[in-house]
């Protein structure tokens, strides 16, 4: 094949342009912190994989934030329940004093104190996290508990003592059908959030419970509801409130009517039972909070793992980038040297 001056020059020019482009790309690789592609066309397979990982990472970040919000909410709940526990102990102490038949106006005073403790418990349970009432179940916009002037405890407008798992009991207690329906809803309500448990919906477009976290905290279930067979309330606040009401009725010598004394004894006897129920519920809340904690660790690990994965796809490490650059520079310099030595001479230069 006949190789001409211009074909040599053109080939050289092309090669030099390639070497320059390689060096430019290698330079950009270093300057862009080792980024391997800037469009799908640069590397469709990498870009597609990278998109999937980035998308999963974005979801993971949202789930981490949601999880973190839930942890704060449950910490708030936990702290409030600790306060309830302290308040219960205070109430128990007062009640025990009352049981020991104090003389004079002390019983009446104890009664007033107990009513105050009940009121404090209501305040404690009406705590908010952010804009939402923590113990309001699925009705976070409204304060869940209210203690009426006559000592009755209402949960979302319904007397807790009238509430039962049995509809006929509730009807017998005088609740309207609407109230009964609302109670049934309250006892079964959920507020699911996505914290990376494989969140998905079923065929009815309802969330599959095992794939989401139920963030609902029901003050009703925690504090208890309804009455036992003898008509004594199951709810701790209701017990303390009623006890307070009874003791408040004591005369200046500390005497109570026999019927009230009997009721008071029953209520006192029920206090520890309600506290046991409360502690069981607290255990449930604690275990849910612990689950959130361990889930946070898992989500952070997943996030880190995803970051590591997309970084390894998006970028090469700096050592590689610098090696590539050094090699490109070497090729470029070699091309320049070859050009300078080969192209300058021709037969004409040696003609005499």
């Amino acid at each position: 094949m006949r190789v001409t001056t211009n074909s040599t020059l053109r080939t050289y020019r092309g090669s030099l342009a390639k070497a320059t482009l390689n060096q430019y790309n290698a330079m950009n690789l270093v300057l862009s912190d080792g980024r391997l592609f800037n469009s799908f066309a640069d590397s469709p397979a990498r870009a597609t994989e990278s998109y999937r990982l980035h998308s999963a990472y974005a979801k993971n970040q949202t789930q981490q934030e949601t999880n973190s919000t839930m942890i704060s909410k449950f910490e708030q709940a936990h702290s409030s329940m600790q306060q309830i526990s302290d308040q219960y102990n205070k109430a128990l102490e007062q009640a025990m004093k009352a049981q020991n038949s104090p003389t004079g106006g002390a019983l009446k005073e104890l009664g007033t104190t107990l009513k105050g403790v009940a009121q404090s418990m209501v305040h404690t349970l009406n705590v908010k996290y952010g804009d939402k009432y923590v113990f309001a179940g699925a009705d976070g916009d409204n304060a869940p508990f209210e203690l009426t002037d006559d000592g009755e405890l209402l949960y979302r407008g319904i007397n807790v003592n009238d509430i039962s798992d049995d509809e006929t009991v509730m009807a017998a207690n005088g609740l309207t059908p609407e109230e009964i329906a609302a109670v049934k809803e309250m006892l079964n309500e959920n507020v699911y959030v996505d914290i990376g448990l494989g969140f998905s919906l079923d065929g009815n477009q309802e969330v599959i419970p095992s794939t989401a976290f139920d963030s609902c905290i029901s003050g009703l279930k925690i504090m208890g509801y309804g009455t036992d067979d003898e008509g004594t309330p199951n709810n701790m606040i209701s017990i303390i409130s009623q006890l307070g009401e009874i003791y408040s009725k004591a005369d200046e010598d500390g005497n109570l009517p026999a019927a009230d004394k009997e009721t008071a004894d029953k209520l006192f006897g029920k206090m520890s039972e309600s506290f046991t129920n409360f502690n069981t519920q607290r255990g449930t809340i604690t275990s849910r909070a612990e689950f959130l904690d361990s889930n946070e660790t898992r989500l952070v690990e997943t996030g880190d793992n995803l970051t590591e994965q997309f970084t390894s796809i998006d970028k090469t490490d700096m050592a590689d980038a610098l090696t590539t650059f050094a090699y490109a520079q070497y090729t470029y310099n070699a091309a320049l040297r070859v050009g300078n030595q080969v192209l300058s001479q021709s037969f004409i230069d040696y003609m005499s």
Partner: protein, 535 residues
């Protein structure tokens, strides 16, 4: 031969060496002239002897010197054909790649805050609304603002894509004008060469110029170039160049573009296809044959003419047309399978519409498809609508609804009447929507282009473009390398080489000097004969 005949022989040697040196000079001085073809002196031995009745059989003839037959160009027509075929491939891939790069400048979210990130942001904001903020106006606003940004990104992408299409259309029109001008220029050069041929001039410069135009033409479309002899009568024959477009579907020559001193016009139709006219003379008069098939009283054009229909074209112009018209799978038939700007416009529209429709559905219907009563369900109503209040949502007109903007509509948290304030069954549906696989239909009934999430669809669009670009890019590199090799081969035949010309220079210089020395020798010989013989 007489005594002085030897001087003539030496003189022809001097003249031919000088001419060869002239040509060497011409070659060297044109080494960088684009399109220049290396020249060489055609020479042969000059013989004046003949045979005859009185010719002595014992007479010996040395010859009468050297004769210059002419100057020829060193060119390989087969390499020209191969190079031009390859250049139609290069032109085709290059134009496709250029078009795709324009599309990519709009549809590329890698490493930037684009539609993909905004989808993720919207899902994040819905997640935040759901996490302990159900029903709170501030968080509904966050969702609303994020959705509005998404709409704006859709609008921006659609408008940029339309700009790309408009600019590309202008460029295509210019290129169609260029090719039409190119054909007229080739026709004009043909005419000049014809005149030169008749007057016996070799018109080498004109041929170089024509070859360059043919090279240029070969990028625009695949052409079949033939050289034939035209009989002018009285035994005079001159060269005639004919250029025909090659029909890509059959691989055979189709419409005649140039035939000697006549050429066709190429114009763009409204649907971007091209129309090739009948051959016309320099005054624009159609060249007619001798038949009248349609019976309109006018003879039919000599050559067929018409549109370059789908599948016929190939080269840069066809690639540009494909970029402008390629609907890909959105085409109602299976003919237009190339993915050009319309494909990506249709994809973007499909994504915007599906997204808006699905979001609206969740905010206006319950899980069973029953319409939500805005009086009973807080915030029920369409979240998205068209900015120009037309019926169909596209990427260009998608907007959050006025009702959402002014607060009459908000994200419906629960589709249940009298639901608790934190009931979030519907927000969960919104969240799930972003992970839901949705089918996107193509232009033909029942065809599914993609089944996946919103983000996935957009990623798929970019992936389709990326793969197309990668394939076209490697094709381009292959074609360009092959064309470059062929060009080097062509250059190997037609190009000027300084070493060679230097050697030639020395060779002809020596030959000239030798002829001069011959005259000196003859002069000395004659001196002997004239001045010293018999003295």
């Amino acid at each position: 031969m007489g005594s002085f005949g030897d001087f003539i022989i030496a003189r022809t040697g001097m003249m031919s060496s000088q001419m060869a040196l002239n040509i060497t000079g011409q070659n060297i001085s044109n080494i960088n002239t684009v399109g220049y073809t290396r020249r060489a002196l055609d020479q042969s031995t000059f013989v004046v002897n003949g045979s005859g009745l009185y010719r002595s059989s014992s007479t010996v003839y040395a010859g009468a010197g050297v004769m210059m037959n002419g100057v020829s160009q060193l060119r390989d027509p087969y390499l020209d054909i191969r190079f031009r075929n390859e250049m139609s491939n290069v032109g085709s891939a290059d134009a496709l790649l250029a078009g795709m790069e324009q599309i990519e400048s709009v549809i590329n979210d890698v490493g930037i805050e684009g539609i993909t990130k905004q989808f993720q942001d919207l899902l994040d904001k819905i997640g935040k609304l759901n996490a302990n903020h159900v029903g709170t106006a501030e968080f509904d606003n966050l969702v609303k603002n994020s959705a509005e940004s998404l709409c704006q990104l859709f609008n921006l992408a659609a408008s940029k894509l339309q700009d790309v299409k408009d600019n590309y259309e202008t460029k295509y029109k210019e290129e169609v004008g260029n090719i039409d001008t190119l054909l007229q220029n080739i026709r004009d050069i043909n005419e000049q060469i014809r005149k030169a041929d008749i007057s016996g001039d070799s018109a080498l410069e004109l041929r170089d110029q024509r070859n360059m135009l043919l090279d240029e033409l070969s990028q625009y479309m695949k052409v079949d170039i033939t050289y034939s002899k035209e009989d002018l009568g009285s035994g005079v024959e001159i060269e005639k160049l004919t250029i025909k477009m090659v029909d890509e579907s059959t691989g055979k020559p189709s419409y005649t573009l140039v035939d000697g001193i006549n050429s066709a016009n190429i114009e763009m139709n409204d649907d971007y296809s091209l129309n090739v006219s009948a051959l016309k003379d320099r005054n624009g008069q159609i060249i007619r044959g001798t038949t009248d098939a349609d019976g309109d009283g006018e003879m039919d054009p000599l050559t067929p003419n018409g549109d370059i229909t789908e599948g016929m074209g190939y080269g840069a112009l066809e690639s540009m047309r494909q970029i402008l018209t390629g609907q890909g799978e959105y085409s109602p038939d299976d003919k237009n399978t190339n993915k050009g700007i319309p494909y990506y416009q249709a994809s973007l529209d499909a994504l915007a519409k599906t997204f808006a429709d699905e979001m609206n559905k969740l905010n206006t219907q319950d899980a069973n498809g029953n319409a939500l009563d805005p009086d009973k369900i807080n915030g029920a109503g369409n979240l998205f609508e068209t900015s120009d209040k037309t019926a169909d949502i596209t990427a260009a007109n998608i907007s959050i609804s006025d009702a959402w903007r002014n607060g009459n509509v908000s994200i419906v948290a629960s589709t249940k009447e009298n639901a608790s304030s934190d009931a979030n069954d519907n927000i969960l549906r919104f969240q799930a929507l972003f992970s839901q696989n949705i089918s996107y239909e193509g232009g033909q009934a029942g065809s599914v282009i993609y089944n996946g999430t919103f983000e996935g669809f957009y990623s798929n669009m970019q992936g389709v473009l990326g793969l197309d670009m990668q394939t076209t890019s490697s094709l381009y590199n292959t074609y360009a390398t092959a064309a470059d090799d062929l060009n080097n081969s062509r250059e190997g035949v037609s190009g000027v080489d300084l070493n060679e010309e230097g050697v030639n220079m020395m060779q002809y210089q020596k030959a000239f000097a030798a002829s001069c020395r011959m005259i000196t020798a003859l002069d000395e010989l004659m001196e002997q004969v004239i001045n010293r013989m018999g003295v």
